[in-house]
């Protein structure tokens, strides 16, 4: 059953990419969740859709863009979106969370217009929305590996500052931690990881991979480091189960991965019930 993933290159690339996002998404998710920004992942994934639609539209009219994987345009949009959200959070200082629905709906709205213009309601779009087991080519895969290394290294280097900022922003600022630049850096990392992950899980479900494993981990973890450990374990398990069942049952992997996560979450809640209230 598992062997089939090693017989075909494209499946192998998907599996490896899956394992990498099963690692990256929950780790970023831990920071998002503890900073109460879990919906940020949704906003950024929707703006990724805008970028993809834009790329599809350009591809129809300008040959230069026809060969380009729309995911890269998606990433560019979601990075821009993350910076816009930061601006908006400043504009609405007392209602920071407003930035999220604004960007989210603007992203979808503009995206849908682009898709209609591009005549793009087709199978490709379905794959972008819900993920695909066969989405990763060799050159995509090289990009995925590079980005994974970069994101991991940055997270490792800035771990303690991000941790402090998440726990107690005021104290972190007092101790001289550069809040704004780190926050922007972090949002850019989230945007990149969403770009990588959406090829497998799909835009609509990518935020689930950032939040559900963390929600499960929260039930088990005692400290911050343990949160990462459990979140990554849950993330990886869900990816493996999700990808195999998607391939063998011919389902969209986004759905199966999220279902695996939901089961893990229900299990975690049930098993830890006695320990909490």
């Amino acid at each position: 059953m598992i062997e089939v993933f090693f017989q075909f290159d494209f499946l192998r690339y998907s599996l490896y990419t899956g394992l990498m996002i099963g690692f990256l998404a929950p780790i970023l998710g831990v920071f998002l969740v503890v900073r109460r920004l879990s919906l940020m992942a949704d906003a950024l994934s929707h703006i990724t859709l805008t970028g993809i639609a834009f790329s599809l539209l350009l591809g129809r009219h300008i040959t230069m863009f026809a060969g380009l994987n729309p995911v890269y345009m998606g990433m560019a949009f979601s990075i821009t979106g993350s910076l816009l959200i930061e601006r908006l959070r400043h504009v609405y200082r007392y209602y920071k969370e407003l930035a999220i629905p604004i960007i989210l709906s603007a992203g979808i709205g503009v995206g849908v217009v682009f898709i209609s213009l591009a005549d793009g309601f087709n199978n490709d779009l379905f794959n972008y929305l819900f993920g695909s087991v066969v989405a990763i080519s060799q050159s995509d895969f090289q990009v995925v590996v590079t980005l994974t290394i970069v994101v991991t290294a940055l997270l490792f280097l800035f771990y303690k500052e991000l941790f402090f900022l998440s726990f107690d922003e005021e104290q972190a600022v007092i101790s001289g931690i550069p809040k704004r630049s780190l926050h922007v850096l972090f949002m850019v990392l989230v945007a990149l990881v969403i770009g990588i992950s959406m090829q497998i899980v799909g835009i609509l479900l990518v935020s689930a991979l950032m939040t559900l494993p963390v929600a499960s981990a929260m039930k088990w973890a005692k400290g911050f480091k343990q949160m990462f450990l459990y979140a990554v374990i849950f993330g990886e398990v869900s990816i493996v189960i999700g990808l195999f069942s998607a391939f063998h049952l011919d389902l969209a992997p986004g759905g199966t991965i999220v279902m695996a996560n939901v089961f893990l979450l229900i299990g975690s809640i049930a098993l830890t019930r006695k320990r909490s209230l």
Binding site: K160, F164, E170, S175, G176, K222, G223
Partner: protein, 277 residues
């Protein structure tokens, strides 16, 4: 700039501050020599926390200047020399999955600097700070599961761990039991006597405080008094009437502690103005 050669820990000149249109601080002038232990008192809403935030550069005054160890607060960068326990320290996100050890180590992050990690020696310092506040039995416990007073002790340990030259405590003993408050004041006095740490203690506990502090400042929008404890004791009645408007029973004053610290919950991170360090 050599901190050791500066006679003044803090030099506040003509400082005024207002939130929107409401004047909160008016023309505050204060010189705090190194090695003093200052008790800062005043009624609720008199601007104590606001003054402290100006001193830390979290709020920018409308007029006047603040110098920390001879350096203008806007240019000051030795933040690891300053320890701060915020009035609302225990209103942090209480579900945050961090252990006592993890929280106290944050106090060292600014000192360690970017791209560096906790070494053995740092971990030892963290353990010592935790012992200093008597929380060693809880070192691996989740911060959210401790009582309010215990959390407050952890935050005090976090402020102490970097061996600051100036320690600012905004009502640090709210929610700490009477015996621990006494131990805590004794500990502060020892830090002040033996290590020459300059201390600023915001408190409503005027009776108990006088035994420990070397100087007292009375604030109510303006600075009504700033002088040594003896002079304060001699003019206490007069001071109290001037500040609180009527005779107050000083000994009974600490009963209304519990409701102070929830007053300004809206004054959250939005107050954090200082950006890059």
């Amino acid at each position: 700039m050599d901190i050791k050669k500066q006679p003044l820990a803090l030099n506040i000149q003509h400082l005024s501050f207002s939130y929107h249109n409401q004047n909160v601080l008016e023309d505050i002038n204060m010189q705090i020599p190194k090695g003093s232990f200052l008790g800062l008192v005043g009624p609720n809403g008199s601007g104590k926390s606001t003054l402290v935030k100006c001193l830390l550069g979290l709020l920018s005054p409308n007029a006047g200047s603040v110098q920390l160890f001879g350096v203008d607060v806007k240019k000051f960068n030795r933040w690891s020399d300053i320890g701060f326990v915020s009035q609302k320290a225990n209103s942090f996100n209480s579900g945050f999955p961090a252990t006592v050890f993890e929280v106290v180590s944050m106090g060292l992050y600014g000192k360690i600097g970017l791209f560096r990690f906790l070494k053995k020696k740092h971990k030892q310092q963290v353990r010592e700070a935790i012992e200093q506040v008597g929380m060693e039995d809880y070192i691996d416990d989740n911060i959210g599961q401790l009582s309010g007073g215990q959390q407050q002790r952890v935050f005090i340990a976090r402020a102490l761990v970097s061996n600051p030259s100036l320690l600012i405590l905004d009502e640090p003993t709210v929610g700490v039991d009477a015996k621990s408050v006494k131990n805590f004041y004794t500990m502060l006095k020892k830090l002040n006597d033996e290590q020459g740490i300059t201390l600023i203690l915001v408190t409503h506990d005027i009776g108990a405080m006088s035994e420990y502090v070397t100087d007292v400042a009375c604030l109510n929008k303006c600075l009504h008094f700033h002088g040594n404890t003896n002079t304060f004791e001699e003019n206490k009645e007069e001071m109290m009437t001037a500040m609180y408007g009527h005779e107050v029973n000083l000994l009974e004053h600490n009963h209304d502690h519990d409701h102070h610290h929830h007053h300004h919950d809206h004054d959250d991170q939005d107050g954090v103005r200082r950006e890059e360090g």
